[in-house]
C-alpha cells in the first residue's frame, strides 16, 4: 500500500488539514464503514423519516444500501480492480473502487479506447452536503478521490480518460468536474443512471484545478 499526503478542508476550523490517500481499501476502512459510516447513515435516515422524507423522495440517500465489504470481496485479488481511500485523523473519510480493464470509452472522439471506470465512489456520511444533514466535517473528499482516479488513468497510459455512471444526486458534482454527460440507456441501471466520461482535455483541466 502506498499513502500520499493530501489536504481536506476542515469546515469547523475553517482551514485545510493534512490527510492521507491510500491506494487500497483495507480492513481498517471496512471496519470504519461498518461501525462508523453505517450508524451515521442510519441516524441520518431516521432524521429524514422524522421529517416526512421517504425512500421515494429525492433527498433519500441513494447510496444508503451500498455494502463496501461485499463490493471489495467481489474483486479481491483481481488485477483489474483497485480501491482508494482517504483517511483523516485515523478515520476513513471516503472510498472509491475502480475498474481498470473491462470498460471502453464511448465518446466519438475516443470510442473504444481504454479508460478508468469508477465503479463506486462515496464519502463518509458526516461529510455529506445534503438538505437534512449536519454541516460536513470535511470537504474536498470527493475531489481528492476524483483526482486520484484521473491520475491513475494518466499513469496507466489512458491519458485521463475516465467513465462512470452517476447516481442522480451526484450529477452536479460530475458536471462541475467537466465531464461529458452522455445520458442514460434503458439497458443500463434501469435507465436511471446517466453515463459520464472525461476526455484527456477535461482531465488535464481537472488536474490543473480548473473546476467549473
Amino acid at each position: 500500500m502506498t499513502a500520499y499526503q493530501v489536504h481536506l478542508f476542515d469546515a469547523a476550523a475553517g482551514a485545510m488539514v493534512e490527510a492521507e490517500l491510500h491506494d487500497e481499501i483495507a480492513e481498517k476502512q471496512l471496519i470504519d464503514w461498518q461501525f462508523q459510516w453505517r450508524p451515521a447513515v442510519q441516524t441520518y435516515m431516521k432524521r429524514l423519516v422524522d421529517n416526512g422524507i421517504g425512500p421515494a423522495d429525492t433527498a433519500w440517500p441513494q447510496s444508503w444500501h451500498w455494502d463496501w465489504r461485499g463490493k471489495m470481496n467481489e474483486v479481491r485479488g483481481l488485477l483489474g480492480h483497485i480501491g482508494y481511500s482517504v483517511v483523516c485523523r485515523d478515520v476513513t473519510q471516503g472510498m472509491m473502487r475502480l475498474d481498470l480493464a473491462s470498460r471502453r470509452a464511448r465518446l466519438d472522439s475516443q470510442a473504444g479506447q481504454d479508460l478508468v471506470y469508477v465503479d463506486y465512489l462515496e464519502v463518509a456520511p458526516w461529510n455529506w452536503r445534503e438538505p437534512y444533514a449536519d454541516a460536513p466535517i470535511y470537504r474536498l473528499v470527493g475531489p481528492v478521490l476524483m483526482h486520484a482516479a484521473i491520475t491513475r488513468s494518466v499513469e496507466e497510459g489512458f491519458k485521463g480518460r475516465l467513465g462512470l455512471h452517476s447516481l442522480p444526486q451526484a450529477i452536479p458534482f460530475y458536471e462541475r468536474c467537466g465531464f461529458t454527460n452522455l445520458g442514460t440507456r434503458p439497458d443500463e441501471y434501469e435507465g436511471k443512471l446517466p453515463y459520464f466520461e472525461s476526455t484527456p482535455g477535461a482531465a488535464e483541466a481537472y488536474l490543473k484545478g480548473e473546476l467549473k
Partner: protein, 69 residues
C-alpha cells in the same frame, strides 16, 4: 508499488499484433500487456466460478458463447 522486470520474446506475428493493438488503443506495449493480463485473469476467475463468456451483437442482441475449454 514495487515492480519486477522480465524479458519477453515474441514471434514476428505476435509482435505485429502487439504493435497493432498499441496503435489502435493508443497504449504502450507494457500497457497492452497489463490490460491483457487483467482481462485474462478476470475471465479465468469468472469461468472458474461457473460463469459463461458471451459476445452480444449490440444491434441484434444475438449472443454467441466463447467456449473456453
Amino acid at each position: 508499488m514495487s515492480k519486477r522486470t522480465m524479458t519477453l520474446n515474441l514471434t514476428d506475428a505476435e509482435m505485429g499484433v502487439l504493435e497493432n493493438l498499441c496503435a489502435k488503443k493508443d497504449l504502450s506495449k507494457i500497457g497492452v500487456i497489463r490490460q491483457a493480463l487483467r482481462l485474462y485473469q478476470m475471465v479465468d476467475v469468472r469461468l472458474e466460478r461457473g460463469d459463461k463468456l458471451f459476445f452480444e451483437d449490440d444491434k441484434t442482441k444475438d449472443k454467441s458463447e466463447v467456449m473456453m475449454l
